[in-house]
Structures are given as structure tokens and as C-alpha cells.
Amino acid sequence: MGLLSLLLFSPMIGLLLISILTKNSDHKSIHRYAVLGGIIPLVISWVAYIQFQGHNQLAERVSWFSYQGGQQSFVIDYELALNGFRLALILLTTLIVMLAILASVKQITKNPRLFYQWLFVLELGILGVFASDNMFLFFFFFELTLIPMFFLIGKWGHVEREEAAYKYVIYNGLGSAVLLIAIVAVFAQAGTTNFEAVQAYMAQRDDMAFQVGVLIAFLVAFGVKLPIIPLHSWMVSVHVYAPPAVVMIHAGVLLKIGAYGLLQFGSGMFPDAFPVFAVTIAVLGLINLLYGAFLALIQDDLRKVFAYASVSHMGIILLGIAGMNTAGYQGAIFQTISHGLISALLFYLVGILILRTGTTNLKKLGGMWTAAPVLSGLFLTGALAGLGLPGMSGFVSEFMAFVGVFEQLPLFGAVGVIGIILTVVYFLRAILNMTFGDPRKNKYEKMADIGKGELFPAGVLVAFIILIGVYPDSLSQLLQITLETLVTGMGG
Amino acid sequence: MSAVPAQGYLILALILFCIGLFGALTKRNTIIVLISIELMLNAVNLNLVAFSKYGIHPNITGQVFSLFSITIAAAEAAVGIAILLALYRNRRSVQINEMDTLKH
């Protein structure tokens, strides 16, 4: 078993540890083993990072199954391979899952054993999505995330959790349905699902209509995941009703599958046809950016604000992709990573806030800073990162995305910049209303500030956000070869 | 030799089949429904026998087939009646429209 497979299946260790060594009632040891189970993939993923930096091509291929149909044979292999983008996402995943586990230690009191079991299955699915080197395997793991998420939302969420869970399942089910159609359509033509092989096949086949059709399907499929307006309503419900620890993973990593997929499937496999969609994606991106921003402006629930902020931020990813050039793609990728970190941070803090006050209603909150300065400061930090303050990761990604889109579509870029003004407005509105103002208005005057132990996950996230913001080359070096592949369809 | 065209038999069979079908779908008494189905099977047999004489490649197989069909139909009818008796014992009714506890 190669390192990648080890990494991919390492969440199973945690799952087994919890399943075998703990009993339902023993919450303490469940949490302990969960943390241990979260650390294992984290460590392995960093080992993989070091290996990768040492120019070790991490790739695995085992033949899996195949069909013989007439003249053509259809082969599906178990193929894992890393590139910079995937590695970055994997590191993000293991990190955020780890932090989500830490967050859950306090937040999940109901049946934590089952919770962690599902969480590890979810992690397995996400890692699989990012590690797989062919469409089938991608889909395999993509769909695998459905059930764990369904439970994590539906069982441990708040208020309308089950509706949210069903919404999640239906929307994502439909998205993956469309994805499956497209994947199989490509597979039926090419006889392989390997990304590179498909790309090579499509290049020599030169069937524009087919490629465009398949790309539309991909756009819809990943548009649900990303989400693209108007396929977003599930995502808002999930943000609002899922437990914050799960939203950390959901907003931090799961949504990123959409961006990853769009890049990997779109420009990774159809570099010739993908630019046809530049304007479409730019329009969608703009709509996302502005729609999300305007809605975030008037929400009364902090989680809704963050949810629509996510919608808005995904617009920037789309705009970056619409640039169809290195800068744009890199911006999109950076935004992917950066938004992952930021939303994980924000929802980590939301989780803490809920533990303290039991509400995220902005009308009920106010003047929190006096009682809880560190928590408030962290909220402000998160918001500043979200609104693209230089020195934090959000800025770098927004900047590159806009640089990218400006090359061909300056007008879209210019309108998009309006969106980033709105970003400031809604983030400050929400955060300042909550943290600033008269402390006497704060019903939770005696709320405890963030504890020492709770500080660690937030600190780690802030550190990464600032690291990328201050020295973006730490991430971008990793991506260059991938980007070359995406833009030119060559190399790699 | 015969002046009766093959179509004659086929159309007769079709008519009987249709009547049987209509009876099976509209009659109230379960026994009549069962016997209507037997009528349909009869129509099939007529078809088979007619084809064994007038078909594209007429041969004896059609008659053999119809024999099998008759036999099996008898078995089916017997089972049908048996089930009906069991049902009647529980419900005191042979009205087919009263069998509707299982629905939706």
C-alpha cells in the first residue's frame, strides 16, 4: 500500500479505534480517540507533503475492473495521484477535520461516538475525492460523502436540521446525478476515466459539441456543490442548521470540491472547449458575488450572513476561473484554500459563540467585546480575512482572481470589484453589531471569553491565513506545475 | 380447400380474447373473473390451433402448445378457486371490489 492509499484510508484507523475501544457512555475516551484519529491523517498528509516537496511523484495505480464491449474496452483503475492543488486541498482537509474534531469535543454531547464515526467516513470520502486521479474514483468518493453529511446535519444540527439534511441530499444528489451522466458519457467515448488520458483522447477527437455538452453538465454538477446561484439554497440551510463543527468541514472543504471539480474536470480535461464558457462563468460568478453580498447585507442571523458570504466568495472563485489564465486559476485555487481556512475559522467561532449564548441572532447580540475581547477580536480577524484584507489569505486570492479576469473580461472584473466593497459592508455590519456597541445591551454580559484550550484551533487557522497572506509563495510554489497543466493542457 | 380464411379464426380468437378481457376487468364475482380469464386462454388456444393449420409454417406444435396451455390453465383455475375459498372463509365475500384492504 502506497503512501497515498495509506493517507486515504487513514481515517479508518480513527473509526476503528472509536468503534472497538470505546463504549457509548464513555464520552471522554471517545473524544480522546477521536482526536487521535484526527491526528493520524494530518501527520500522514504532512509526510506526503514532504515527500512531494522532495520531488517524489506520489502516484498509485492498481487495476480495478474493466468491461469488454465489442471493439472497445472500458477500463477503470484504482488510480491515485497528487499534484500541488490536490495536495493543498488534502492538507486543508486533514487540518480542518482535525480542528473540527477539536471543536466537537465541547460542542457535541449527543452520541459523540456515532458522530465521530460518520466524521471519519466523511473525511475518507473527501480525501478520496482529492486524491483520485480518475473521474470514476472521484465520483465514487464524491458520492460517498453524501450519507455521512446527511447524518451529521440531520442528527446533530439545530432546529430545522432534518429539512436541511434532506435539502442537502436532494440537491447534491441531483448534482452528482448530472455529474455521473457526464462522467459516463465521457467514459463511454474514451474508454477510460483517467484525467490525462481523457484529455489526450478529447484533444485528438476534437468533437466540440460533445465537449461543450459535457462541460455544461459539469458546470451544473459542480455548480450545485459550489454553489452557483440559483442552486444554493441547500447550502444556506446547511450553514444555518448544521452543527458548527460540521459546517467547518462543509464550508471549509466540501464546497471546495465544486471548485476543484470545475478546474480539474473543466480545464483539466477539456482545455480546448473550456474557454468557451469564460463569459458564462464570469456572469455566474458576478451573479454569485453580488447576489450573495446583497443578501448577506440584510440577514439577521450571523450564520446566514456567513452563508451568503460564502456564496459571494464562491463568485470570486468563478470569476477567477473565468479568467482562463494562470492568474485567474491561481486566484481561484487560492480562494479555495483561503475560504476554506476562513470559513472554518468563522464557524469555529460561531460554535464557541453558540456554546456561550445559544444564539447567533444579531438582534440579540451586541457589545460583546467588553465581556469577551479575544473572541470578538478573533471574529473581527475572521471577518477582516473574509473581506480580503491584505496580509491575509483572502486578499491574495481575490487579487489574483481579479487580475485573471481582467485580462479578457475587464468589465466583469470592474463590476466584481463592487462586490468586494459590499463584502466590507456586510462583514462589518454583522461583526461590529455583535462585538461593538454598548456592553449594557449585551444580554450575555457575563459570557465567558474564549478559553485557553479553545484558542488553539482558532490560532492555527489564523496562523495559516496570515502565512498565506504574508507569504503567498509558500502555497503558490506548490501549484505552478498544476497550473501549467490546467492552462495549457500540457506538462504535468 | 377450406373457404374459411385463416383470418376468420384469428378474428374469432381476438373477439373472444377481448370479451374475456372485458369480463375479467368488469365482472364483480371473482369466480367469473377467473373464468373470464379462462376464456382468454381459450382464445389463445384457438389462435395456436389455427396457426398450427394455417400458419406460415403450419405444424403440429401449435396443438401441442395448446394442450400445455389447457393443462396449465386448469391448474391455475384450481389454485384460483382454492385461494378464493380461503379468502371467502375469512371475508364471507366473493365480490372482487371488496378486496381492497391493501391499497395506496
Binding site: - | M1, A3, L25, T26, I60, L67, T71, A75, I81, Y88
Partner: protein, 168 residues
């Protein structure tokens, strides 16, 4: 020659009348009896079609066994049962419409189908031919039918048997 036609016309008329009567009489027993007429007429038509053995079997099984069984069935259940006009008229109309459409379509399709020569050898040792066929080609179905009959027998006994301890 024309005798055959006359026979065909009479027999087919009888069978159709029998079948139609089944639809329109109101007493269940009468329905059954009118169908017996149909079964008999069909046996006659089988004879016209050089299928003497089938005709005999038809008489034995349909007009005999099955009809008797059905009459038993009626007697064991509500034998005074009268068929009322269907309450569910809409569905009956639909069924009627469906039947008519089906009839018209199939009729349209088979109306013009040309058939070639007719078999001539069917009369000769009809039963033997059938026997040979069954015991050379259709041994397996023959055996299977025996299993079917056995199963039906067992099933009918199990289902219809009234168990002493249960008289409620």
C-alpha cells in the same frame, strides 16, 4: 366445403354468443353455463381445424373439469350471488374503451396478413403426432407440468382445507 363455412359460422356465432351472454346475464351460475357453451363451440372449431385431440381435451377439461370446479366454487361460496351492474362505471367504460382500441388495433394488424399453405397432415394420426412431439421435444415441459399439477394440488389442498381447530 361450404359445410365447413356453415359449421364455422354457426360455431363461432355460438361461441361469441356464449361469451357475450356471460357478460350480460345476471346470475353467476348462468354466466358460467353460457361460457360452457362457448367452450363446447370452441371444441367444434378445433375439429374444423384438424385438431381432434385438442378438441377432446377441450371438452374434457374446460367444459368438464374447469366448469365443474367453478360451479363447485360458486356453490361453496355465495351461490345466490347476483351480478349487479358495475358500480364503477367510469372504469368499466375505460376498460371497454381499452378493449375496443385493442381490438381495433390488432384487428387492423392481422386483417391483411397473408397466410401461406395450410397443413395437410394434421388429421392423420393426430394424437400420435402430438404424442411423438411431446415425448421427443417436450419431455421437460411435460414433466414440469406434472410438477405444476402436483404443486397446484398441494396448494389447493393446503389453501382450501378447513382445519378442525379453527372454526372461528
Amino acid at each position: 366445403m361450404s359445410g365447413e363455412i356453415i359449421a364455422f359460422v354457426l360455431l363461432s356465432a355460438a361461441s361469441v354468443i356464449g361469451a357475450l351472454a356471460m357478460l350480460y346475464v345476471s346470475k353467476v351460475v348462468h354466466m358460467l353455463l353460457s361460457l360452457v357453451l362457448t367452450f363446447f363451440s370452441l371444441a367444434g372449431i378445433y375439429v374444423l381445424l384438424s385438431a381432434e385431440f385438442v378438441a377432446v381435451v377441450q371438452v374434457l377439461i374446460y367444459s368438464g373439469a374447469i366448469s365443474i370446479m367453478m360451479i363447485f366454487g360458486i356453490m361453496l361460496t355465495k351461490h345466490h350471488d347476483q351480478e349487479k351492474h358495475p358500480q364503477n362505471i367510469g372504469r368499466s367504460l375505460l376498460a371497454g374503451g381499452g378493449v375496443i382500441v385493442f381490438f381495433a388495433a390488432v384487428y387492423g394488424a392481422i386483417r391483411k396478413v397473408p397466410f401461406g399453405e395450410q397443413a395437410t397432415g394434421l388429421h392423420e394420426a393426430n394424437t400420435e403426432q402430438i404424442g411423438i412431439k411431446i415425448f421427443s421435444y417436450y419431455v421437460i415441459p411435460f414433466e414440469v407440468v406434472s410438477v405444476i399439477l402436483l404443486a397446484a394440488l398441494v396448494g389447493a389442498v393446503v389453501l382450501a382445507k378447513r382445519e378442525g381447530d379453527d372454526q372461528s
